[in-house]
């Protein structure tokens, strides 16, 4: 067999990209099972995100927007694509990078170096906000106090507030985060597994917090994690990739494992779970938990004893 034939036999045979019919395919899209080439992949990836942004009216011209940037794959690709689309389609946005330093040694200190490089690579001004400055506690200190359970619960709540503070410092109108389709499908499952009806009804919204200090939106809501990673790989985008040292104990890990197994069997399951989440309606006879405010500082609190989580740690 000729060498050339052997190589093309391996790379999907004589098939060509489904879209352009000219070039060799390099990727099979989980969303559509199409086999597409690199150039067409860049185009559909970017165009679909543009359609999500426009179709859901995520932004208004002239807005100052902070990109929650951790240095990880999702936020790096988000910063890259959003700057590109902002230029290409004239969204008229003023973009910033906002990074939170939770004080997790060996994890956050390294990823912050990546965000600092992103600041230079993408030309976006960077603001860093730390738990230590805001709350007087690093996550390492908190974990020493509470042990290895429920770390993500504390960290997630603190991060949300830290992002609000950082956004206020930057005087932005909106926050964007890199949550992708896989993340949202995991969250839907998690909330079902826990019977958390309040969160279930909110977690598929593409924009949240419109009634709070800073609205946040998720342009990657329908974007598969696999495609984000492939995009970053082909475009050689610089990102940091280590698991947070406290995450192995997180319940989310089970939902993630399950979603990954599901994706292997039926890739569309991820988008279908999101659709199910979007279309859930809570029975009118169900009593919904009330969201109160912290006795001490007035910030939102879902805790029965109405002290916001930051005040619970201080006690």
């Amino acid at each position: 067999m000729e060498a050339g034939e052997a190589k093309s036999k391996k790379a999907g045979g004589s098939r060509l990209c489904c879209i352009c019919n000219q070039r060799r395919p390099v990727l099979k899209r989980p969303k559509t099972l199409q086999q597409i080439c690199r150039e067409c992949f860049y185009e559909v990836f970017e165009e679909e995100i543009h359609q999500v942004i426009v179709g859901n009216r995520l932004f208004k011209s002239g807005e100052r927007v902070a990109i929650g940037a951790s240095g990880g794959k999702d936020s790096t690709v988000l910063a890259y694509v959003l700057s590109e689309l902002n230029r290409r389609h004239n969204y008229g946005l003023d973009l910033f990078l906002l990074s939170i330093d939770e004080g997790i040694t060996g994890y956050r200190d390294d990823s912050l170096e990546t965000v600092k490089r992103n600041e230079v690579q993408y030309g976006l001004p960077l603001q860093i906000v730390s738990y230590k400055d805001l709350y007087g506690w690093t996550m390492d200190e908190i974990v020493k106090m509470i042990g290895l359970k429920n770390n993500c619960t504390f960290c997630g709540v603190f991060r949300r507030q830290a992002l609000d503070r950082g956004a206020a410092l930057l005087k932005v109108d909106k926050l964007v985060t890199g949550h992708n389709a896989d993340d949202i499908a995991e969250t839907v499952l998690l909330n079902i597994l826990r019977g958390d009806i309040a969160r279930l009804s909110r977690c598929t919204s593409i924009t949240t917090g419109e009634d709070g200090p800073i609205p946040r939106c998720k342009p990657f809501k329908y974007t598969y994690e696999k495609e984000i990673v492939m995009y970053a790989y082909f475009k050689k985008l610089d990102y940091f990739s280590t698991e947070c040292i406290y995450s192995p104990n997180a319940y989310r890990g089970f939902a993630r494992e399950f979603i990954k197994d599901l994706e292997r069997l039926r890739p569309r399951a991820i988008l279908d779970i999101i659709k199910s989440g979007e279309d859930f309606r809570i029975a009118t006879t169900t009593k919904m938990p009330e969201q109160g405010t912290c006795e001490r500082c007035g910030y939102i609190s879902s805790q029965v004893r109405p002290l916001s989580l930051s005040h619970q740690v201080m006690l």
């Binding site: 395919p25 990727l27 990880g72 990673v229 990739s241 280590t242 993630r256 494992e257 990954k260």
Partner: protein, 101 residues
């Protein structure tokens, strides 16, 4: 056969923190060069390169769900996944997606 194997997305931590490995893989005795597939390569990698936590890399006979595989910059889903034939001078990339974004 000479192969270049790359590990990304955190997988390099399982291989002595080395991202790129240039290796020489011996074909199983009596095997045709057409018979060497990703199935064989994965087994070889698990035995020879993965120094810790093999469950992060493989589940059963294939890679752990969430690990992407590219052969010569091409998604292995296009070439039959485990049935992909591996040849001399091929570049195989393993990228884990299982970490924060």
């Amino acid at each position: 056969m000479q192969l270049t194997l790359e590990f990304g997305g955190g997988l390099e931590l399982l291989c002595d923190s080395e991202k790129i490995h240039k290796v020489n893989v011996d074909l199983p005795n009596g095997a045709d060069s057409d018979d060497f597939t990703m199935t064989h390569l994965l087994s070889w990698v698990r035995t020879n390169l993965i120094k810790e936590r093999p469950e992060m890399f493989m589940k059963g006979d294939t890679v752990r769900p969430g690990v992407l595989v590219l052969v010569n910059d091409c998604d292995w889903e296009l070439s039959g996944q485990l049935d992909t034939v591996i040849e001399d001078k091929d570049v195989v990339v393993f990228i884990s997606t299982l970490h924060g974004g």
